[in-house]
Symmetry: C3
Subunit: 627 residues, 3 copies
Amino acid sequence: MAGLRYGGDYNPEQWPEEVWQEDVALMREAAVNLVTVGVFSWSRLEPAPGEYDFGWLDRVLDLLDANDIQVNLATPTASPPPWFGLAHPDALTVTADGVRLTHGSRDTYCASAPPYRAAARRIATTLADRYGKHPALALWHVHNEYGTWCHCDHVATAFRTWLTHRHGTLTALNDAWTTSFWSQHYSDWSQITPPRKTQYLPNPAQALDFRRFLSDEMLACYREQRDILRPTGVPVTTNFVFGGWVPVDHRRWAEEVDLVAIDDYPSGNPEEGSAFAADLARSWARGRPWLLMEQAAGVRYSGGRMIPKPPGAMARHSLQHIARGSQGAMFFQWRASRGGTEQWHHGMVPHAGPNSRTFHEISALGRALAELPRHTPGIAAKVAILWDYEAWWAQQSPGLPAPDLDYLNSVRQAHRVLWRHGITPDFAHPSDDISPYEMILVPSLYLISAESAANLTGFVRAGGTLIVSYFSGLVDEHCRVHLGGHPGALRDLLGISVDEFCPLTEPVPLTMGLTGTIWTEHIRLTSADAFAAYPDRTPAITRNRHGAGTAWYLSTNLDDDGYAALLTAAGLPAAITPPGVEIVRHRDGTVYAINHTADTISGIAPEPLLPGGFAVFNDLCHRPAQT
Amino acid sequence: MAGLRYGGDYNPEQWPEEVWQEDVALMREAAVNLVTVGVFSWSRLEPAPGEYDFGWLDRVLDLLDANDIQVNLATPTASPPPWFGLAHPDALTVTADGVRLTHGSRDTYCASAPPYRAAARRIATTLADRYGKHPALALWHVHNEYGTWCHCDHVATAFRTWLTHRHGTLTALNDAWTTSFWSQHYSDWSQITPPRKTQYLPNPAQALDFRRFLSDEMLACYREQRDILRPTGVPVTTNFVFGGWVPVDHRRWAEEVDLVAIDDYPSGNPEEGSAFAADLARSWARGRPWLLMEQAAGVRYSGGRMIPKPPGAMARHSLQHIARGSQGAMFFQWRASRGGTEQWHHGMVPHAGPNSRTFHEISALGRALAELPRHTPGIAAKVAILWDYEAWWAQQSPGLPAPDLDYLNSVRQAHRVLWRHGITPDFAHPSDDISPYEMILVPSLYLISAESAANLTGFVRAGGTLIVSYFSGLVDEHCRVHLGGHPGALRDLLGISVDEFCPLTEPVPLTMGLTGTIWTEHIRLTSADAFAAYPDRTPAITRNRHGAGTAWYLSTNLDDDGYAALLTAAGLPAAITPPGVEIVRHRDGTVYAINHTADTISGIAPEPLLPGGFAVFNDLCHRPAQT
Amino acid sequence: MAGLRYGGDYNPEQWPEEVWQEDVALMREAAVNLVTVGVFSWSRLEPAPGEYDFGWLDRVLDLLDANDIQVNLATPTASPPPWFGLAHPDALTVTADGVRLTHGSRDTYCASAPPYRAAARRIATTLADRYGKHPALALWHVHNEYGTWCHCDHVATAFRTWLTHRHGTLTALNDAWTTSFWSQHYSDWSQITPPRKTQYLPNPAQALDFRRFLSDEMLACYREQRDILRPTGVPVTTNFVFGGWVPVDHRRWAEEVDLVAIDDYPSGNPEEGSAFAADLARSWARGRPWLLMEQAAGVRYSGGRMIPKPPGAMARHSLQHIARGSQGAMFFQWRASRGGTEQWHHGMVPHAGPNSRTFHEISALGRALAELPRHTPGIAAKVAILWDYEAWWAQQSPGLPAPDLDYLNSVRQAHRVLWRHGITPDFAHPSDDISPYEMILVPSLYLISAESAANLTGFVRAGGTLIVSYFSGLVDEHCRVHLGGHPGALRDLLGISVDEFCPLTEPVPLTMGLTGTIWTEHIRLTSADAFAAYPDRTPAITRNRHGAGTAWYLSTNLDDDGYAALLTAAGLPAAITPPGVEIVRHRDGTVYAINHTADTISGIAPEPLLPGGFAVFNDLCHRPAQT
């Protein structure tokens, strides 16, 4: 149990049984020790209502067990079989424009539909009963990538119930949603629906509450299954998938899983993307174990293209996660599918078979990781970036003052600049205890509640450095503007007041050699002073002493170098790693150094230990920690 | 009553009553004398069917009255409350593909649904009864921005009735719609539907008649309310909104309102856009009073961005309207909303409050306008541009020979070139009495009836100058091609015949140093001569003496300078104003001069009277008129 | 009967009868001898259910007969009248997202709906009875451009029946469709639906089978009518329309028509496009007669624009078809429609009337063609390009590794390069007898069955030259990957094995001065040798001796010159015609030479015989054949 997890999604039901023998032989060759089984197998486990076929799964688990490969057994509830929707058409997804979807892909179900919930509980119970004590079982994996929207009447009913808990009274809801605008005042709970297709733009507060509701509703689905599975004594999790369209608040869900698990399909620079995903997962896990449960074998996705990962990339990306506390590295999927929609998504064993670069790398990586211990001692981050799903969702409202305001871009820039500086930041929620940090970055956090604003104020007062970017702190938890000069929630803390925004279509030069894009604001200084200015000499970047700390405000968008210069001015230490080398330090002295360049970096690692060109220096391993 | 109207939409129902006191104090500071109340307040006035709550509105009107602020009281029928659609699902909008919309935005109703019509009459009657004699009441504002499409069965029924009035017999309809094409012949009125989603492209004549029907159907809605409100003795209007998607013929509606009122949210160059909107409104009003009822406070909209209006712009744009006969300048809205979809749309009092550039300008503008009298003596335009909604709608048909034919672009160019020349043109309908004009511009007027063509011919015969642009006069009022050489309706008048069009993807050089884009034609001269030619020496621009006048034809698209050169060649006087200075002359000698530049213009105005940098010279005011 | 067919779609029902007299006079002037009548006339023939009005059609056919113009009489089943859908709403098209379409365009029906089938049989029977012996009748034209999708319950039922015939057992279907992926296993036939709107991407095998089904279902519609019409003794056909969205396998349909007939609306270079369409039709006809039944009169379509055909183009394009065996040249349509959706689609008689360039050319062309005999002796092609609709459809699957893989582009390039070389290739199906050819081009043929692969292997073994382009031979007839190294179906034949693809966003230089775009592969040579290489020295183009022949593989996309160089290296003779001159040779010695340039080409034709600048040299005509 001390070693790292290594493996991937294994779908033996897609293959004749004679292939299984080759599978386990190759798994052993690659030092695979954990595979995820059964994710989309409902239609094979329960081919007709109440008729089960577990024989094949029995044989798979026994075969794996006989080969010392453990199992992450999934409940198959992410994709009900065709018979399910035909028996329960009211449990199929309905789009915002009223189209009831048909089976034929995956994820076609409604999380609020009682027949779906009952069927999900039933299959989970059956699996718990049958496999709860199987010697191969190491982990329960509930469902897959929760994130399905539905707008049907079941959802409407559940949404209303959820709203009564959230708002208490209709009066409170009408106030929170500002329903006096456009004649949307509700005089009865029954008048409230999900945000279905309507004549023009929807109410942003309703849209935000609907996302919160969907997150909680799917969490209830998860909890139901978890509570069925937990009595087996095996830990339970589900894999988090990241995306702007996913109505799931993973930070809140993290409290409900025994092991935070993520899927990572990075966009943009894959190295920074991996670090970003791993830092998010690590932050959600709050020092507890977590696991990279899916990453792509062999290829990455970019602009609709499947681009081969260069030699060593699978190892380097896996290590980025492990360095941040992942208990292993898992892939989607073991063997590339022969047919089906994702037949070109590659596998640890590609279509070409084991005699392929991909499998050779997979195999070498597995054997190398087998030499490493699991390691979760934690990282003592001094810098945090504020991350809040609700703020992200609120920033997807219609009717914002500019089309290129993008919370994720701002967050990714903040993380990227720190990553290039060799700093491993935490992601903190605005309501978290942030007193341990020295510096907090607030990249375009549109929504901040009064309570969170007070939290940030306390942080600065106690000596912290806060760096707030444009389009932050404008609305409260109900998408209502904090009145008075902007940014209302942080105005006093920042010592400024803004009465006008000016979106840009062309860059604008600032003093200090900086350049602003996307956005500018007309700042009036109340107690802050100007650090950089626009061509009309009005302030562009301000700083305000508050208590023992300083609150900076950046009223425009900078490029990475400009943002880095701002952080440096605010006290961030200069970069401490050679370019392309990623350093992750742990409290216990362990240092992971990952060389993303093609060169041998002297002074960091005398020689690469693993195919990806990385080294681990650990006191426990009696190797000297280095900087 | 002699002064200008100044104010905006006032939505006190969005605010606690303690804010109202500040509102009226600020209104007085800004010399506001008219506010539009109640536009989207149905759900607050009638929170449940038949249950009314007028207390708040009573208090608002009394408060305004006590502060000498008059009220433009709206009927709230543009946005029924949530309960309405639930009680009458058949009165909710249905899209062309059959989706019945849900409340949750605004404008979700069907103008043909009897329950909607009854509910609208009921609330209008209730308001008339309660407030018809209120001392603050100055104007009734019916609904808001009529322009909603619906394709439901109520609409189908009403459409059929309308068609029987328009066409009389099925035979006439089949002929008008050319239903022999693609087997669309109707053998019974019941077979006719709105243009719902069908397999491929729709029938253009059906689509055009459907827009005409929608315009008439919504006009019937308006008339019902107007006839309920008129007995109060207070004038009645509704605000016209401009857009290619709006199925409303404002020229015809103008005859039904006591005061033409428009909303103006200009795109492109905002100064030219304001002049364009004001000239349209003035032309629709035909010498009667009219009013700019909405313009954006503080910002303009461009490419999804809300761009601050530069200092003085609100004043200059307001004056452009007033110079053309608007009885005042109104804004959307008084106080920027705290929540709701349009929370970022700015207000006369922005989120930052009265201590803001926007409110300072609003306040200065109101006080300055209070010094000016209302002025509607009229402008004696010598030049008219033909404007016809039906031709615009017809040019939105599928299957035209090129994708970049754009009526509005052509009209805007004609207007823009005149505006830069210091000429204030009328917009005339092709069937209007056009004998007062010296020059008529016909920019890409696809649809011209035989009667209108005769009207234009009479104009030229009597000595007028007609300048017709490409893609004009091709189809009749039923979208049927005028046969023979193109442009069939104007062929003899122009002295040419065209048998081939050639859309362009690249510019083509003409003689006279001109350049053609988008479109060319193969012209055969019958009685015209060539003014400019294509590289193959065929005519590009022609002129034809006809009776005492001249008819020009431009068979391609020119840039602004080229079009201006053509107008000059056709007899338009050279530009008479300094660049950036807009001059509007009235019959009574009043001259409005608006300086859109940042410079002081000598010779126009010795000093700016108002923040926007404009001056009014008026004999009545004993100031000399200038050119 | 010996002469060529000349004419077009004639829609007299759109015109008053007085126009008909001018029509036939002009037809005689233009030597028109065949017109297509009745294509969209159902609503005029049967204005109400069971009520017929044949008077007008009687008069039309008699008038044509009296003027020696023969008739291609259409059944009007492509566009049921408005009354039909109202009487049988279950026979209207349903989209994938469940919208039932409304009449108002054309083609709004469901091919699987029993009421539609019955109505279609009834009108066909009525026409056969009434006109089967009419002296003007020369050809029956069933329907128009079959190609309509529907997803309704009638379709679901028919699809299931079709699937039982195709797959036999559910087990076989589950295996073929790889339903073990994403829990799509079917346990009962009733669970299978058309690929309706679902949550995410659909199953590619299901989508492919659905296209096959639609092709067969519409073929059944055609056969029903054909079998009603054939007893009249007049040949029966239907016009094939070409497009990626058309679910019709014209190669298979060609066996069911008495005369292959196509519509040709070329995109891209219109000369190459015409040659491409004509070579496809000729190949589908397999030596039997065929007919160009529609081409655009006067204009071509490009980017939404209707561009005039330059002088001579109608003649040259017509001759390209005739040179390849078309029995004539027909246009859409005789007289440009006055109204309706396609009123701008031009006609042989345009809106401007007969005094127009278009009609002058039409008339001259007709008189010139009257001098030519029909000619179907055949072309003995040495080179074939593989063409398979199923492979095209399969390549439209979601989830491919790159977005710019485009089968049609690859095929068009192969054809274009041959055409420029003066070579007239056949299009062969992978399962055809290909032994007569010397060289076979396989442009990006994604789907190849094992049987077809064996066929290609036999071809090479016997001495043939095979040139396979990237992204070929990857999946079988059920869209399942041929396992092992790619391209699985052809791996041994090509002597290579590929385990990784790398889509490109930038061009990559190859050796031999070539440049690759779109795509590259990582090739391992097994028995082939490298002909050209990538910058990393891995093979880019390979050749493998196999038996008496050679199999080439091109693993990237080349430009036309590069592809031509490859073909030359593989043994294609150098270009043998002057640039711009198209040569088509027949077994009997006839040579058609078509001069697409504006110059007189010496040595080819002493003088142009026809307006389009082409010449026919034919032994039968006692003119010397030339090269």
